[in-house]
């Protein structure tokens, strides 16, 4: 996804001289093309993420459209107070890009894991939270970033994420996208967990259980029109590579409690409340915490029976 991000940003920056990138000294050759197209607008802010967020606010204040980019924990948690004041409270149209989100950087250890970023960003007023499932969703959503005159958190992966589409999908920021329609189980996915949702969909269909597969790439604001149909399903499953505390599943649960009068049989799947230490590659880490088809399918079946 990061390669697609660099490619899209380069295309956008070549057409719009307000767009600039601030990055915290990562992405070795990633931005070479952007640097060729707009050298003065590809700015290495140094390993200084807090100041990077604040500077982006200053640049946006003068009419620019900055994207700030580094590995997710360092551009969400480390600089959280700068984001709160200078981007969210000041309501500046800056896109905060976290790369390697969730377990993408599992092998690099808990310093590089990000289970808390959706929670941190969505609690901030004015902030939009967008989690594309793959590089094709990212490609569809990138130009739409400029239609939002507020800060946006764009949560992306690393590289070679499995694709969920044959071509760039026709998706809209803020709107849920149904990939496969169904009636009994709703698989409500955000970010790279859409791929897991696709596997679960296939497994359920093989058992003769009708399932709907939906990408909720926009976690904030939620597509509440779509959510009106939650009660039509026997089971609603949320899937995310984020802590079960404060993330996408929490947002859905909060919305149900606050705004929905019908009962929903909800199963939330995500990362449990513990650090994942010792060496794990992403798939090993997912297996350890039960974020796999094998672990989740029985839970869905149990919910259906229960």
């Amino acid at each position: 996804m990061r390669n697609k991000f660099a490619q899209c940003l380069t295309n956008m920056a070549s057409e719009n001289d307000k767009i600039c990138l601030l990055y915290a000294d990562i992405g070795n050759r990633l931005f070479d093309k952007l640097k060729a197209v707009a050298p003065e607008r590809a700015i290495n802010a140094g390993i200084a993420e807090a100041n990077m967020a604040t500077m982006a606010s200053g640049m946006a204040n003068l009419g620019m459209r900055p994207f700030i980019y580094t590995i997710t924990p360092f551009t969400t948690a480390r600089n959280f107070e700068q984001i709160k004041i200078d981007l969210a409270y000041a309501d500046m149209p800056v896109v905060i890009v976290g790369t390697g989100s969730g377990l993408s950087y599992a092998n690099l250890g808990p310093t590089h894991h990000s289970f808390e970023d959706i929670a941190l960003m969505r609690v901030l007023p004015n902030m939009q939270v967008v989690c594309p499932a793959d590089s094709l969703e990212l490609e569809a959503l990138m130009p739409q970033m400029l239609t939002v005159n507020h800060p946006t958190y764009l949560r992306i992966g690393k590289k070679n994420e499995p694709l969920n589409y044959e071509e760039v999908p026709d998706i809209q920021l803020g709107k849920a996208h149904v990939l496969k329609e169904g009636s009994s189980v709703l698989l409500l996915c955000t970010g790279t967990a859409l791929h897991l949702g696709g596997k679960l969909h296939q497994a359920l269909e093989e058992k003769g259980i009708s399932a709907e597969l939906t990408s909720m790439h926009t976690v904030k604001p939620l597509d509440t029109d779509y959510l009106q149909k939650l009660a039509d399903f026997d089971v609603v499953v949320t899937l995310e590579e984020h802590s079960l505390i404060g993330g996408f599943g929490s947002a859905i649960g909060e919305w149900i409690i606050d705004h929905y009068s019908k009962p929903v049989n909800l199963l939330r799947c995500g990362i449990p409340d513990a650090f994942i230490d010792k060496v794990h590659d992403p798939d090993s880490a997912r297996k350890r915490i039960g974020l796999t088809e094998a672990a989740i399918l029985p839970k869905i079946l149990a919910k259906l029976e229960g």
Binding site: A50, T54, N61, D86
Partner: protein, 271 residues
């Protein structure tokens, strides 16, 4: 310093003391140390249009030490952004004159402040954007010496010289006191000027209560091409009011009616 300059500065000081008393707003001493710095910027140095506060090419002042909002409001009022008496609503419910400047501040206020260590980064980002867009504006950030405890300042301090931001000036209100003690005992702040110089800034150290000296170092022909400027302004916390000077109780204390009257006499505003 001419008589009319002295009179305006006295009125600003008096208003700061009066509004603190009237609305029970603290941080009086923090505002008093910055009076001449803001006066010099707004009345003598910056390219601004008080009757057109959003004029695009204007110079911009970014307030660090946001708890000193009162002095900014007062200076803007006397400079003609709004009637000076509006500042007397400071801290009242629903007033735009918040104790720390907010998202919807009075005319002329350029930034949200209150959390320390943001103003220099904002000014640095603006200065960088101005270079990209060929804007003629200059950006001035005021930071307190206590505020320099915050590490983000030093992130910006490394960025600005690397990008040759000679359209950026930081002014350190070096009043030697922070919230609970001597700033130089809490953190090693000296040699303040040498610190900035070592970071690649053009520097000067002046008496921060001397308008003529401040003007001399802040005027635009005193800029070395390719370097941001750091002006170390030696000030006195509570400066200009004899019984408040260098007394850190006035970081939080509210003056009484009698004290307001005695300040008016000391400043020569009443007989």
């Amino acid at each position: 310093m001419s008589a009319d300059v002295a009179e305006t500065i006295a009125k600003i000081r008096q208003q700061l003391v009066a509004v603190s008393n009237q609305n029970k707003v603290p941080h009086l001493a923090c505002s008093l140390s910055s009076v001449e710095i803001l006066y010099t910027l707004y009345f003598k140095v910056m390219n601004i249009r008080p009757d057109e506060p959003d004029w695009a090419p204007r110079d911009r002042f970014l307030l660090g030490k946001g708890h000193a909002a009162a002095v900014l409001y007062s200076v803007l009022g006397y400079r003609g952004y709004y009637p000076p008496e509006q500042t007397m609503t400071l801290g009242q419910n629903d007033s735009a004159f918040e104790e720390h400047p907010g998202k919807h501040p009075p005319a002329g206020v350029e930034n949200i402040s209150g959390s320390l260590g943001h103003a220099l980064g904002l000014a640095t980002g603006m200065a960088k954007a101005a270079k990209i867009t060929a804007s003629p504006a200059h950006f001035y950030a005021l930071v307190g010496d206590g505020e320099l405890n915050e590490g983000t300042n030093w992130e910006a301090a490394m960025f600005a010289p690397a990008h040759q931001l000679d359209n950026l000036t930081v002014i350190v209100d070096f009043n030697k006191l922070q919230g609970t003690g001597r700033s130089c005992d809490i953190m090693q702040l000296e040699d303040m000027e040498a610190k900035w110089k070592a970071f690649g800034w053009q520097t000067a150290r002046v008496n921060g209560h001397d308008v003529d000296a401040l003007y001399h170092v802040l005027k635009s022909d005193y800029i070395e091409a390719g370097k941001p400027r750091a002006i170390i302004a030696d000030t006195v916390k509570g400066g200009g009011v004899s019984f408040m000077e260098d007394d850190n109780n006035w970081h939080y204390r509210i003056p009484t009616e009698e004290e307001v009257e005695s300040v008016a006499k000391e400043l020569g505003l009443v007989n």
